[in-house]
């Protein structure tokens, strides 16, 4: 972690504007209400795109364990950022929802909202792991669609959330059913994350642009 902050301080000296962009982005996360998850996904893509892993990281004089720790720290620090901002955003929404002229209020019941937030954060963690240590997200075959079905569930619920609908696209008001579906998806995410971490082996360098969305194509 010390190394992560060392790198951040170096980056700040060379690219202070980036930090201004980050502050603006953080503000958006706090006040964006129902579409917070959209901002979050855009932010992940931006973070991963700006800090993509290059061949140099495969050449550094590090042991495999040190290398893995370094990459995991990167995942965790980005994820913590979103967790803190996301939580802050929810608190702000509930506080501001007491004012009548604030339109962006949560229309779904609080229990559901909390489950959705937890689901969201777990999914963010999985996406980060896929981007940094995994083999990429691909929906090209029935098997890979099944493996990433929780992401489809996330988007369905996300759209319902934006619409402020209690039934959304699921066509039922049964909150318990919605929570069960999301809980099942969360279990799948946890399973995928554990599997990725457990089977993670430092592999050959491959250009990042070919990795995340094209599914681990080797250089």
């Amino acid at each position: 972690m010390k190394d992560y902050f060392r790198q951040e301080s170096i980056a700040f000296r060379y690219m202070p504007l980036l930090y201004l962009a980050r502050i603006l982005f953080a503000a958006l996360m706090l006040i964006s209400g129902n579409i917070q998850w959209c901002i979050m996904l855009l932010g992940i893509m931006f973070s991963l795109g700006l800090n993509y892993s290059t061949e140099e990281e495969y050449l550094l004089p590090l042991t495999d364990e040190e290398y893995k720790k370094r990459r995991l720290c990167r995942v965790l620090m980005i994820w913590l950022r979103y967790l803190i901002l996301g939580t802050g955003g929810y608190i702000m929404m509930y506080v501001l929802s007491s004012f009548d002229n604030i339109r962006r209020i949560i229309s779904l019941r609080p229990a559901f909202a909390i489950v959705f937030f937890v689901f969201q954060m777990l999914l963010v963690f999985e996406v980060l792991l896929e981007g940094v240590i995994g083999k990429g997200i691909k929906l090209s075959t029935p098997e890979t669609v099944l493996r990433h079905i929780h992401m489809i569930i996330f988007f369905v619920y996300g759209i319902a959330y934006v619409r402020g609908s209690d039934t959304g696209l699921i066509l039922t008001e049964n909150e318990t059913l919605h929570i069960v579906i999301m809980a099942a998806a969360m279990i799948l995410i946890i399973f995928n994350c554990i599997k990725m971490l457990h089977t993670w082996k430092v592999e050959d360098y491959a250009p990042e642009s070919e990795k995340l969305f094209a599914g681990g194509k080797k250089a």
Binding site: I10, L60, P61, L62, E66, V202, D204, Y205, A219
Partner: protein, 296 residues
């Protein structure tokens, strides 16, 4: 003991396989790495550097040893002793030139940050300039500044000279000679500028490609290689050269050029006297051209 040893290296990338690459490198040597496009030069260099792993689960085999440090046992020490300049910039292009030294130099033993910035200045590179704003030649120079800022034993250059201006290229080759002059360091340099490599390299590793397999065609001194070959120009009607001597042929408008290879027999014993008088030593580039054309 050799400074660097590559023992029975077999590495598979996709469908292509480097097969049984074996060579030693002594201190004080500049090893030229040549071969046609796609024969595996960059794959070999990346495996030596460690960005490609010898994955025994994938049936890769072999050992890499630098200064008595085996890659798989002492990865950190092994990597600390290697410096590199690569054709494709290994650094994040969103970074600035100065940031590269500050961020990555930290990981290398005895990295001298002041020296890095001084070398950037010497090469005319603004440390506050983004890597994406630099020309290809400047990126090579930036990598060179990084490589020279810590005490490595083995220097690896993957086609560095093609993007350098003629003036700097001369300085660059002079630098290579200085690097190995103390007999404690070695250089591996891959290049398509074979005519230039011929003047700088002490030894040659010539790789070949056969379908999906890369192999070592020749490993040894350049003189040793050239000594086995001769060029002979004859009129098109003359065709009395023993076939077993012909390694390659090129037809010109008025005559034919043949590359002859000894194959264990001295030329003056295998050819008539008038032909022996016409034999000339080929340039390295010519040997490569004829041999690879013949196989294509």
């Amino acid at each position: 003991m050799a400074l660097f040893e590559c023992r029975s290296l077999t590495k598979k990338i996709g469908t292509y396989r480097l097969a049984d690459i074996d060579f030693d490198l002594e201190g004080g040597t500049i090893l030229g790495l040549i071969g046609i496009n796609g024969c595996g030069k960059t794959t070999l260099l990346r495996t030596i550097l460690g960005s490609y792993r010898i994955d025994t689960d994938a049936e890769d085999t072999g050992e890499l040893i630098l200064n008595d440090n085996h890659f798989h046992k002492a990865q950190k020490e092994y990597r600390n002793d290697i410096a590199y300049v690569l054709q494709e910039c290994p650094f994040n292009e969103n970074m600035h030139a100065g940031e590269v030294g500050e961020r990555y130099g930290h990981y290398y033993r005895d990295f001298n940050k002041s020296r890095y910035f001084a070398l950037l200045g010497e090469y005319g590179i603004d440390p506050k300039k983004g890597i994406s704003e630099l020309s290809k030649g400047q990126v090579i120079k930036m990598q060179l500044a990084f490589a020279r800022s810590y005490p490595a034993l083995l220097y690896i250059f993957d086609e560095p000279a093609g993007n350098l201006d003629v003036h700097f290229r001369d300085e660059f080759y002079e630098l290579l000679r200085k690097l190995v002059s103390d007999e404690k360091h070695a250089v591996i340099i891959s290049s398509h500028l074979v005519s230039e490599l011929e003047h700088i390299a002490d030894e040659l590793l010539w790789m070949g490609r056969e379908e999906e397999r890369g192999f070592v065609r020749f490993m040894g001194s350049i003189d040793e290689l050239k000594n086995d070959y001769r060029l002979l120009s004859l009129d098109k009607e003359e065709n009395t050269i023993p076939k077993e001597l012909i390694a390659g042929k090129r037809e010109r408008a008025s005559h034919c050029e043949y590359l002859l290879c000894k194959n264990g027999v001295e030329f003056d014993k295998a050819l008539p006297e008038d032909m022996v008088k016409k034999l000339v030593f080929p340039a390295l580039q010519e040997i490569m051209y004829y041999v690879e054309k013949e196989e294509a």
